[in-house]
């Protein structure tokens, strides 16, 4: 076992349906080191969201183990998960549904600090100070705190979600398709922001996406999933330049590229 594993996932199985006939995850094992930027790619139904839900303890595995900093979290009661909730934060795909429309940005961002479970370690944090700090970190103006999510554009709303994730000063940031619902014109900005934050704060990043080009840009290692299993894992360089699995090759071939030389040949 290597030195500084943040996550150790072993033989994870998660089934759904009567008699467990749908295997959303089927024998998944992986390790995430501190400071790693891991991309999880795969098509819908490949199990990538189920995997991160289990890693964030938002769901329980049917069998197998998830260890976070050496502690088993699979099957742990919510009241014992405080340490995980403060250390692992999530950014979801669609900020329109992940931000409560009836809360101000300020109370959304500081909500993790007010949670009873997370609070123990954060009691002495000055919430106002922290709010200003994270809003500044995601390039939102300080007066954003008093406004509501609907007053912001899609890209700005995703910044709010990122600010909320940063508020409890996590070690691990799990982002589930964080730019898929955003407009092309703001995608690059949010990706640059994420890259800067991960770098500046020394975060461990788990980045789920179906967009391989984005993963290639942002992550240092990749897990390719298909039908609940890991098809291939390795460094970004290896997986993209020398894919071992045929499935990875076909995924890479399907990335749409701008075609200007051979337009109209219909192939």
């Amino acid at each position: 076992m290597s030195g500084d594993a943040v996550y150790e996932v072993t033989d994870l199985l998660r089934t759904f349906g009567r008699g467990g006939h749908v295997r959303a995850l089927d024998g998944v094992s992986l390790q995430v080191e501190r400071g790693q930027r891991l991309g999880i790619v795969g098509e819908s139904g490949s199990g990538k969201s189920t995997l991160i839900r289990l890693m964030a303890a938002l769901d329980r595995p049917s069998s197998g183990s998830v260890r976070f900093e050496g502690r088993e979290i699979a099957g742990l009661h919510e009241r014992d998960l405080g340490f995980l909730r403060a250390s692992v934060q999530l950014v979801f795909q669609d900020p329109r549904s992940s931000l409560n429309p009836r809360m101000t940005v300020g109370s959304i961002v500081t909500e993790p600090l007010r949670s009873r479970r997370v609070r123990r370690s954060l009691d002495d944090v000055d919430r106002g100070q922290r709010l200003r700090e994270v809003l500044d970190a995601v390039d939102l103006p300080p007066d954003a705190a008093g406004r509501y999510p609907h007053e912001f554009s899609g890209g700005q709303r995703q910044r709010i979600a990122i600010a909320r994730a940063l508020a409890p000063d996590p070690e691990v940031l799990i982002a589930d398709e964080p730019v898929s619902a955003l407009d092309v014109s703001v995608r690059a900005q949010v990706l640059n922001l994420l890259a800067d934050l991960v770098e500046a704060r020394g975060l461990t990043l788990i980045f789920v996406s179906h967009d391989l080009a984005v993963v290639r840009h942002l992550c240092d290692s990749v897990v390719v999933m298909r039908a609940g299993r890991i098809e291939e894992q390795g460094s970004t360089e290896q997986v993209f330049n020398h894919p071992r699995a045929d499935y990875t090759t076909s995924l890479l071939a399907a990335i749409p590229r701008i075609r200007v030389a051979d337009v109209g040949d219909g192939s």
Partner: protein, 278 residues
């Protein structure tokens, strides 16, 4: 003569006449494929809905839309309904909302057929099955008897494509038809779209924010920004030598694979700074 001629199309909404599309003019020839790119709110979809006559009643449309010599602006709903699904049709982004969840897919495709043909005989099902087969559904019989929720995203989108094509329309409008799909499914659906459009000889207006996808389907492209066309031209020219700074920004952000990993990605603002944009 061109199939579609749009002249000074302007669409505004509500009592305050908020302008969504501002004096847009373009032409589309028989069998031609034109892409419209731009960010959300740029007026791409409103333009498409104006062509289809599907704008809400609060919309105020001026200018001219001529399809095969026939003026569509101001045409009564009954006449438009006769054209929709027959002469021009549309493929929407989200197949789950575009399909009726309570109705078997085959019946939904047949509905489009029966609305526009006098044929009440038993041949409708055969034609539906045939069409589903032509959009690449291997198991057409079973798909026809399925409800939308029993199908995958790619299968649903193919069913929409079958509905749009079954009456051999002159013009198919596709609004982000593959945005909700996985990459490998997207690649398959795009290839198929290319094939069936060629086979049917239909012209296509293809709306997308994905420049790569547009470059694969279309020969020409319009760039829309804040309701106006800021640049237009053949795909090969526009993507290799964009002129408008906004287009340059869009092209730069779309070429993420050319940026060395770890380096800062170019943003549209680098090329086209806007007031208050973040």
């Amino acid at each position: 003569m061109s199939l579609l001629q749009v002249t000074d199309l302007t669409v505004s909404f509500g009592r305050r006449r908020a302008v969504a599309v501002d004096s847009v003019s373009f032409e589309l020839g028989q069998g031609q494929r034109l892409g419209i790119i731009g960010e959300s709110g740029s007026g791409k979809t409103v333009t498409a809905l104006a062509l289809m006559g599907l704008l809400p009643e609060t919309a105020h449309v001026t200018g001219s839309i001529r399809l095969a010599g026939r003026e569509l602006v101001g045409l009564p709903e009954a006449s438009l309904a006769g054209l929709r699904g027959d002469v021009l049709s549309m493929v929407f982004q989200e197949p789950m909302t575009a399909l009726d969840p309570t109705m078997r897919v085959g019946r939904q495709v047949a509905e489009v057929l029966l609305l526009h043909t006098a044929d009440r005989g038993g041949s409708a099902r055969a034609r539906v099955i045939d069409m589903l087969g032509r959009v690449g559904l291997a198991d057409a019989e079973r798909v026809a008897d399925s409800f939308p929720h029993q199908l995958s995203g790619g299968q649903r989108q193919r069913c929409l494509l079958a509905m749009a094509l079954i009456n051999s329309p002159d013009l198919v409008i596709c609004d982000e038809p593959t945005t909700a799909l996985d990459v490998t499914v997207q690649a398959r659906v795009l290839r198929l779209l290319d094939e069936v459009l060629t086979a049917e000889g239909a012209a296509c207006l293809f709306i997308s924010h994905d420049l790569a996808v547009v470059s694969q389907v279309c020969t020409d492209v319009l760039v829309m920004l804040e309701g106006r066309i800021v640049e237009a031209g053949p795909v090969a020219r526009l993507f290799s030598a964009p002129e408008h700074p906004y287009t340059r920004g869009l092209v730069a952000t779309a070429r993420i694979d050319e940026v060395p990993p770890g380096e800062r990605l170019p943003t549209v603002e680098d090329f086209y700074p806007r007031e208050g944009a973040r």
